[in-house]
């Protein structure tokens, strides 16, 4: 073997190690599709709760009534838990199939980078909610989620960065038109997740 071939292999192995050590590549695209589906189901339930008989694309003039707060929170919590559970389960399965460690330095770093903006956003939204600012929920959740994704994107597939940007933009739009909050919420957490999940699945899971 010529030295050049040897060095070429060295370079390839360095590149592989750099990527493997900094990126959590077991995130399953399928879990994105599922999370999006749960979000759409949740959004439909919320629609019947707060907007029906108004059409889904109609601008809602009234704010959410306090009595609806608990059921809405329950729907949101159910969507969150179901998404996290299927994400955990499917990613774990993908890691096992690839013979790669699931919980290690890299995934730990990913969780921390995701959680800092996400937990801040969650608490921030909850505190505003307790003060009766219902209109802020959809935009702030979308924006903080987008920031969390952009923050964690060095530890994920590069494309996640663009998902993050899109969530931020949708969140800002939701702030501009609070009456479309539910629609933007369904777009950001539902449609985008399904779209991105499908792209990731085609590109990396098969």
């Amino acid at each position: 073997m010529k030295p050049a071939d040897h060095y070429q292999e060295d370079l390839a192995s360095i590149r592989k190690m750099m990527e493997q050590s900094s990126k959590f590549l077991s995130l399953s695209g399928l879990s994105g599709i599922l999370a999006g589906t749960y979000a759409l189901l949740g959004a439909s339930a919320a629609y019947y709760l707060i907007q029906f008989p108004l059409a889904p694309i109609d601008y809602r003039q009234e704010s959410v009534r306090g009595a609806n707060l608990v059921p809405l929170l329950a729907i949101a919590a159910a969507v969150l838990v179901a998404s996290l559970a299927s994400g955990y389960w499917l990613s774990r399965r993908k890691a096992e199939k690839a013979g790669q460690p699931f919980w290690n330095e890299t995934s730990r770093r990913l969780v921390i980078n995701l959680l800092i903006p996400l937990a801040t956003g969650g608490l921030f939204t909850l505190l505003l909610l307790l003060n009766g600012h219902f209109g802020v929920v959809a935009p702030s959740l979308l924006i903080f989620y987008g920031l969390a994704l952009t923050n964690a994107s060095p530890n994920l597939y590069g494309e996640i960065r663009y998902l993050g940007y899109s969530e931020i933009l949708i969140g800002l739009a939701a702030a501009l038109w609070p009456g479309y909050g539910l629609l933007f919420w369904a777009l950001g957490f539902g449609v985008l997740h399904i779209l991105y999940g499908a792209v990731m699945y085609r590109k990396y899971d098969r």
Partner: protein, 100 residues
């Protein structure tokens, strides 16, 4: 013409050492056990290479205790970064020279 081989760093002429340097370039710091899992080497082999890099002051060692278990973390030094970059450039030079 200069010989491209002259620019190669003898300390870095092992795949495991190159991989260690790569991982420490991509991450702020990395611990021994995770490094071993990632590179799939034995304790002894990894320790020997880490020692060699430490002796050259290419990497720093930080020992601490996490849950009463010893935890050894490694960091790349500025000197290590420069040496690694130079060595990578030299490898590319060699590849280019032989492809002609």
């Amino acid at each position: 013409m200069k010989n491209p081989f002259d620019h190669l760093d003898r300390i870095l002429e092992h795949r495991v050492r190159l991989q260690i340097m790569g991982v420490l370039t991509a991450n702020d710091s990395f611990d021994f056990v995770s490094l071993k899992e990632l590179l799939q080497t034995s304790d002894g082999n990894l320790a020997t290479h880490l020692k060699a890099l430490e002796r050259e002051k290419y990497i720093l060692v930080q020992k601490s205790f996490v849950d009463r278990k010893p935890n050894t973390r490694y960091k790349i030094t500025e000197r290590g970064k420069q040496a690694f970059r130079k060595h990578l450039d030299a490898m590319e030079e060699v590849i280019r020279a032989q492809r002609k």
